[in-house]
Structures are given as C-alpha cells and as structure tokens.
C-alpha cells in the first residue's frame, strides 16, 4: 500500500529527491573501488596483456544495456495495466541511460576488438544483438518524441517496449544460434569462464556501480519530467525551488 502511495508523482517527487544523493555517492564510491581493483589489483591477462582491462567497463555496460530494457518492460506492464502516470515517466527517464550503456558496450567492445580480433567490428552474435538493442532504444525514444500529446505517447511507448521486450530474448538466442559458424563470441565466452577471482570481483563491483549510477540518473531525470509534465498543478507551484526559479525569471 505504502508503495502505491509513492506511485503518485506528487509524493514520489520529494522521495526521489531524497534518494538521489545516496545512490549518487554510492555509484561514485563503487566506481572508484571497482576501477582500483580493475586497474591496479587485478593481474595482467596472460594472453591479452593490459587491453583486457576494458572488460571492467565493457561487461557491466553490456549487462546494464539489457537489464534496463527489461526494467522498462516491467514499467510498461504497470503503465498499461494500472495506468500509473509515474511508470511511463520512469520509462521515459530510463531510456536514454539504457541507450548510453548500450552505446558504451558497443564502443568499448569495438575498441577491445581491434587488438584482440584485429577488427573494430565483426558481425558477431553479441555485437549484433547489442546493436539491435540499441535500435530498440532509439526507436522508443524516437516514437515518444514524435508524438507531442503525452497521454498518447505514454501508451504508445509502453506498447512498443512490450512488443520489443518479447523480441529481446529471441534476438539474443537466435543470433547466437545463427552464429554457430562464427568464433567471435566464443572469445568472450571462454574468457568469462576462466576468469581470475579478482577480475570477477572487479567486474561485479563495477556492475554495482553502474546500477547505482543508473538509478541515480533515472531518478534525477524523472524528477525533471514530473516537473515539466505537472507544471501547472498546484503541488508543483507550491514547491519552493520552482517558485524561486519562476520569480527569478
């Protein structure tokens, strides 16, 4: 019940405000720790040398890319079933972060591919699936921006993300399967298995850092969205900083 209380933007806005600093600082600390482990503690890889350290950015980013989309799908269900405005706002707030992580995974991957496979890009299973994931994000963002009426863009976006989410696993596995001819992905797979404990630790810490970052940024953005959407509601007019802003201008 108390959860439902916070599904109202008016009550969620201040809560989010209070949470942001915590997640923000956590993200920062974890990131420092993770990078320290990754860059200094973790041993050099016997066959790849120093390059492999990209993994500490690459893999967490790749994971987040997929997870955030699933989280959005979850909110989509809420938006469609319970018609909660907030969940649509959360989707809108998360999409850019997800897209950025996806791009980051692609980019770091490409950078990594150069030394290890001798090419920035191969049509490897994971690369391709990640690329498609990026398209799904871009599609969602393009759609909700193309529809100016918020009521409509919310529903449309939610529907799209749902349909898309059905596709994510299909894409993921099918591409693997189609790729049986290809060796590219196996590199990352085998690497994943025989990974030194410290490497794993570093990756996990970094993954956590990304989580915290995503949450913090998501909350910030959702606060902005709430203000923008409900600007002519009384409770927004009552907020102090808003008043100061408007009086200043």
């Amino acid at each position: 019940m108390s959860l439902f209380k916070y599904s109202a933007p008016s009550s969620f806005y201040p809560l989010a405000g209070r949470l942001v600093p915590w997640f923000g600082t956590l993200a920062f600390l974890l990131c420092v720790a993770g990078l320290y482990i990754g860059l200094f503690v973790a041993p050099e890889d016997f066959q790849q040398g120093e390059v492999y350290r990209i993994i500490f950015v690459h893999v967490p980013a790749a994971w987040m890319a997929m997870i955030i989309y699933l989280v959005m799908a979850f909110y989509a269900v809420l938006a469609l079933v319970y018609q909660t405005r907030l969940s649509s706002m959360m989707m809108e707030a998360l999409a850019p972060t997800g897209a950025i992580f996806t791009a980051l995974a692609l980019w770091t991957g490409a950078l990594w591919g150069r030394p290890t496979w001798g090419t920035y890009w191969a049509w490897d299973a994971r690369m391709t699936s990640t690329l498609i994931l990026l398209f799904l994000y871009v599609g969602y963002i393009a759609l909700i921006n193309a529809i100016e009426d918020k009521k409509r863009s919310d529903k449309a976006g939610a529907l799209l993300v749902l349909v898309g989410s059905v596709n994510v696993p299909i894409i993921y596995f099918s591409v693997k399967w189609w790729n049986t001819l290809h060796q590219g992905a196996s590199v990352s797979l085998t690497q994943g298995n025989k990974m030194a404990a410290t490497m794993l630790l570093g990756m996990l810490v970094m993954a956590l850092a990304c989580w915290m970052y995503a949450i913090a940024v998501g909350l910030c953005r959702v606060r902005a969205i709430i203000l923008e959407r409900e600007k002519n509601m009384q409770w927004v007019r009552d907020i102090k900083e808003v008043n100061d802003q408007s009086s200043a201008t």
Binding site: F135, G139, R152, K155, A156, L159, L162, G164, N167, V175
Partner: protein, 235 residues
Amino acid sequence: MSAVLPTPDLLLIPERGLWVAAARDVKLAMRSKGELAQALVFFVIVVSLFPLAIGPETALLKRIAPGVVWVCALLSVLLTLPRMFQQDYIDGTLEQLVLSRYPLPLLCAGKMAAHWLTTGLPLAAVAPILGLQFGLDSRELAVVVAGLLLGTPVLTMLGAVGAALTLGVRGGSILMALLVLPLYIPVLIFGAGAVESTMAGLDAAANLSLLAAMALSGVVGVPFAVAFAVKISLD
C-alpha cells in the same frame, strides 16, 4: 426504418467483423489497379538489383541468395504497411472502425488478413522464380517458399503494430520502418537460416518450426495490441 432498436447482441455475429474488414480491404487492393502486382514487382525489381550491383558470379550470388531474398521480402512488406491504416485514418474510416459494433480486434485481424493475402502470399508465390535466378535447387526453393508462407504473416502482424502506433505522426512512414525493422530481425534470421541450413545439407525444420511458433503466438496476441494502438492513435 431509422431508430429501430439495435439488433440484440445475440443476433450480432462478431466473427462477421473479421470477414467484413478483410473483404473490404481486399476489394480496395484489387480496385486500385493491380496493387498486388505492385508489391510483387517491387520485390522482383529490388531482388534483381543485387546481381546488377554485385556482379554475376554464380557461386557468390547463390551464397547470398537466401539473405537477399529475405531482406527484400522484408522491405516490400515494409513498403506496403502504410496502406493498412494510413488512408483509413485520413478519411475518417478508422474512427468508424473503432465505433463499429464488431469488436475492434476482429476488424484489425481482418485488415491484417487482407494485407497478408495481398502481400505475403504473392511474395511466397513468386519467390521460386527469383530463387532460380540465383541458382537455388528445388529443395532449397521449397524451403524458401515454406519460410515465406510462415514468416510473412509475422511480418504483417508486427508491421500492423508499428503502422498503428505511428498513425498521424509526421515522418510516420520512416519512423514506422525504424520501429518495425528491429522487430523483424528474428524472422529474417530464422527465414534465411532455414535456407542456409538446407544449403549446408542440414535440416531446416528447427528454423521453420520457430517461424510457425511465432506466427501462431502472434495470431493470439497481436490483434489486441493493434486494436489498442489504433484506439490511442485517435484520442
């Protein structure tokens, strides 16, 4: 005549809605001089662009044949998607569809059926000829056709969602393509995969059955999704 009380719902056969909508759209497609033919010819032309662009080596062409045929099928379906709702949206028919006494999902299903009959089916029918040009043998051709017969319905259904979502949005046609294509990719992979595995002497059943599964699950869910999308596009 007017203001007779509406036929009690017992007398209204909802299923007729599917038929009404389908018949109407098929008639429209027939009416506008050979719209069928057009979807086909587009398919044929685009496919034949590749030998022109890539050069005539038979081995190479045969190697890329499955991919090319499927990508082109994808694109020609894509190009016909606007037809499904755009016109109805502009001239106000869509409103009347939503307000019709027949359940909207059924009407949408009817429209999708019509679209498949006038697009996917012809494509599957003409594919073998193109396959021959690329030097596929009869077994591979059979798989191409089977794949298209199972895959194009999925393309129509996913496309319908995209088309409905982008109604009345400017730059709609291309935005739609942007939404729909990523969703099409699994179909593409299974479809082309089926042919390639046949070429590699393996069994295509796995890929094909996956396509069938997608088609079946689509038939269950998609009409409701489309109906929903249509409704919000009008509000």
